[in-house]
Symmetry: C2
Subunit: 594 residues, 2 copies
């Protein structure tokens, strides 16, 4: 008997795999794994989550009648196998088409099989609860399946969804993909219970899922198509909420990824054999970006100040804290798991207890803790410090991970001092002050884009009150550039100076309050232009425009559009937004000519 | 033997009760209950939560060495007994001092005993985790206690806190005050488990708290000081996280409150014997406010459109859905419990499944679902409908419950159409359109203040694009009043007309996008004034000011200050913000004179 063969390029939809034998499905899995490894090593992407979910994805589409039956994948960074089986195989087998798909489910790619565009964790249970309730209200019969990883389960919306979903009383199937890992290690009491369940073949009490009110099935061989099919068939068309807890291996099939799960959660292109990155580090540069600069600096400060404690919420590597630095910080490094609400609330308690908490967080994920910033921290005036990374147009460029909404979100919460450093020197000075002072909550917006060294930047010993840096004093035209966009303004000023103008160039330093003394000096200018690396709406420039609303000076507010953009090039957005230095200079000149 | 006597006015601090016998403590509880009932019936407030927690509060302060030991009360609307025992007794025994205290813990009232100002649910575990971790880092020995109700436990931040807190590995005591009620009934799978635990004297499995990793004690007689003291003494100075699950009776001692827990969760002054409200309803007025108007109208629409489904998140009564209306809506009314993230995520799933979801929510609580509005709903363009109640300066006036941040929060999220009706007629027209259309998410900002009937309001059949209503066409001065503040502008216009001016009066209808066609007609005006019932920062007026920033017209943006205010009078804030019609007219006149 010869082994069955499967040609990936003949798989156009799940119907094509429902005709296969288990042996063929196993070959399919092997072929998919091989294709995925080649694409991932050449192209980068989410390695571990996808290699671990190949078998489960095959089994789901084999058992459930998709797209009539509905599957919502939490965070959806594990949906490369799903995309391969639902009409997008070429994007994984043909290098010329690698960029045809995004890294997340996307209804524009597949209206039938991708139900939602999503990329933040912990949303699947709420979304699927809505689908299930809608089905019940309209009299449908389809299965509704939510697939959620063990790490995503620790987010507040997931718990709320787990809690509410249990009450649906009808078909609601939750597949818990348990690979015993978050991006880094998991943190939370539930993980001891998941481990207990894994170690007892799902038989132990307490059982978290039963405590929430679910029926429960455990699949120890979560990378065995045969076992998975059996389990999914057993719950298909079930009339009550049930959890299928599957034990999978993150990175399965790629030894370097199995051995180093954190590094291979998401990675740039790498050598398939050695696992080493194919991207060269700049020679002699130990500190490549602001995450390294931050981490090294704060670790240094922690040596002198035993009160400083760093927190992260599930993304330590993305903010400069890989395992080595976490070990260095010891007990004064806290990762709470994917639980930003908890992290922000905890900073308030830590500060109240005499600790100087520094929560390092990715801009888009801080969105999950808006109310905690307001209620837990700001109302209480607790001097917690927040370092917001991956901000602006140079941050991530998936529509679900945009880093340019934080100015509008944070700068309008009372009582928070929101600082926008322009360069490395100012970033460190503001961070040092924020940690030193104990009067107010401070958010430091880590600059986007490449690191800028600017020894000429005038630093302050105290950033508690807004005080703009007038870098160049001129007349008639003022250019106010916040954060990393300051340097666009500086370049625009140079262009204008060549033309004989004498622009005033300002670094505002602060996004949450106005330096009205300095702004008053601009009242009779011809034109004041602001630029910020965030959406214009609700941002810094609009505050300036309103303040100068009754003054003779014209005001032009530049920034990014209020829009969800996907897979854009930063340079395109900057051009379309009139943010190139030449465009800014032209706008200034045009305004003065009127 | 005579019964012991306790004079409440001799209780100045917890030390005073630690000398008492159990019999004396029981008398103390009775005296406190009597005083509370008198104050609550005369003054209004949170009735049920406080009457149920008298004994537990006494036992906590008796056993734990407060203020060295630290207690964080979740949501803190159950802390009247705590205030009585911590130096604020007179505010509960002397009617002349009833207003000396707020309804929530407040460090300004008691820096030692009130650790945080808080009023949103589900925050205590995160805050207390921070206190406990800080204690461990600085080498302290005190107990850290979080007191949280069964309803608050269902919020995302509470679950995250429960999850993380379990990993602390040191003293962390969670008292779960289980009265089997939210404001209304509880919703969620965990409540079946809590019931099971109550019915088995805490012995059953599955046990939610053990599943999260906690030690566990159950106190069946949660209103027995003797039983409570025994339980708290058993966990005092414990070296690991533990839950003490106490079974209490909401509203204990007041028969009308015991019998009608939802109505007596929070109430205006009432007759102690009958429970009937002491506030008169206006004669012949069935619909007293916008919550009634909304509920009656949407119930009517639901008769014709079987897809309409109303959601609430734990506060059905506050948005017009007391039990009678919930029964009327049947399966098409969904309360998810105190879980706004879940509710917002679910609306997206419901809309995707063909339902027309309408989430009715209190402004301040929608803050907990900022990221879900952005990610689950707006990115996906799902046509969910949100009705935001208790907005603006006329909404609630506790610093933790302010309703004037929602414009800055919502209007800067891409893809959401945020409408601000000015009157009853427009409110209903916008709601009808929002439910009818299926192209986009729509938020309707329910007007604050008394209901305004304005049959002259020009309604639209389609609100998808911003289109301002030019109510009066004039020249030189334009008054743009959003939502309920439109009428301030109308009054200001009348004053200006008496003085011979001809103001243009505009209702902008939409807060999230500009009607640039109409705004362009104002470019050469002398002055354009905007007014909105929300903070100026990040709001509507600043968008107008920025848009007209290069136009000759001066722009003045009026609105509320970016500030947490506590127990303010709306009229004071309006005056201080220059929002009285006469002030607005004066400002317009002054601007034109320059």
């Amino acid at each position: 008997m010869t082994a069955p063969k499967v040609d990936l390029n003949t798989i156009n939809s799940p119907a094509d795999i429902r005709r296969m034998s288990i042996d063929e499905l196993n070959v399919l899995a092997a072929e998919m794994r091989s294709a995925l490894m080649h694409k991932l090593s050449a192209h980068g992407g989410h390695v571990g989550p996808n290699l671990g979910m190949i078998e489960a994805t095959i089994a789901l589409h084999y058992v459930f009648n998709t797209p009539v039956d509905k599957i919502v994948f939490d965070v959806s960074h594990q949906t490369y196998p799903h995309k391969m089986l639902t009409g997008r195989m070429q994007a994984f087998t043909d290098p010329a088409h690698y960029n045809d798909v995004t890294g997340f489910t996307n209804p524009e790619e597949s209206p039938d099989y991708d139900l939602f565009s999503l990329g933040h964790t912990s949303t699947s249970l709420a979304l699927a609860s809505g689908l299930a309730k809608a089905r019940d209200l309209v009299g449908g019969k389809e299965n509704v399946v939510a697939v959620i990883g063990d790490a995503s389960l620790g987010g507040g919306e997931a718990f709320e969804g787990l809690d509410y979903g249990a009450t649906l009383g009808t078909n609601f199937i939750v597949v818990v993909n348990d690979n015993d890992m978050s991006i880094a290690e998991n943190h939370g009491g539930i993980y001891a219970d998941l481990r207990l369940l894994r170690n007892t073949n799902g038989t132990a009490e307490p059982n978290l899922f039963r405590a929430f009110g679910y029926g429960y099935r455990y699949v120890h061989y979560g990378n065995s198509i045969r076992h998975l099919i059996k389990a999914f068939q057993a719950v298909k068309d079930i009339h009550h909420p049930v959890v299928v807890h599957i034990n999978t291996m993150k990175g399965l099939g790629l030894p370097v990824a199995e051995a180093n799960k954190e590094k291979f959660h998401y990675t740039a292109p790498f050598d398939l054999k050695t696992g080493s990155s194919l991207r060269q580090s700049p020679a002699g540069k130990e500190e490549q970006d602001y995450t390294d600069i931050f981490a090294n600096h704060i670790l240094d400060r922690m040596k002198d100040n035993p009160a400083i404690t760093v927190l992260t919420a599930g993304t330590p590597g993305a903010v400069g804290f890989p395992p080595s630095r976490r070990r260095e910080a010891g007990a004064r490094f806290i990762d709470v798991g994917i639980a930003e609400q908890m992290a922000v609330g905890m900073t308030s308690g830590l500060a109240k207890g005499g600790i100087r908490p520094v929560f390092a967080v990715v801009s888009t994920f801080l969105q999950r803790a808006y109310d905690q910033l307001s209620q837990d921290v700001a109302i209480n005036g607790q001097p917690a410090v927040f370092e917001v990374f991956h901000t602006g147009v140079f941050g991530m460029n998936d529509e679900t991970h945009l880093g340019f909404f934080d100015i509008a979100m944070i700068s309008n919460i009372p009582g928070i001092n929101f600082l926008a450093p322009t360069c490395r020197q100012e970033f460190l000075a503001m961070t040092d002050w924020a940690v030193r002072q104990t009067a107010q909550p401070v958010v430091v917006r880590v600059p986007g884009g490449p690191v800028v060294n600017n020894p000429a930047c005038r630093l302050l010993a105290d950033y508690s009150e807004p005080e703009y840096e007038v870098v160049e004093q001129g007349s008639k035209v003022a250019l106010i550039g916040a954060g990393n966009f300051f340097y666009r303004m500086k370049e625009a000023a140079a262009i204008l100076k060549e033309k004989g103008y004498t622009p005033t160039l300002i670094n505002p330093r602060c996004l949450s309050a106005l330096d009205t003394r300095t702004l008053d000096t601009l009242r009779d200018y011809d034109i004041v232009i602001t630029a910020e690396d965030g959406i214009v709406d609700g941002g810094f420039g609009q505050k300036v425009a309103a303040y100068l609303g009754e003054a003779p000076a014209k005001v032009l507010t530049l920034g990014l559009p209020k829009k969800f953009m996907n897979r854009f090039r930063a340079s395109d957005v900057i051009h379309q937004s009139g943010l190139e230095p030449q465009q800014i200079a032209d706008a200034a000149e045009a305004a003065m000519a009127i």
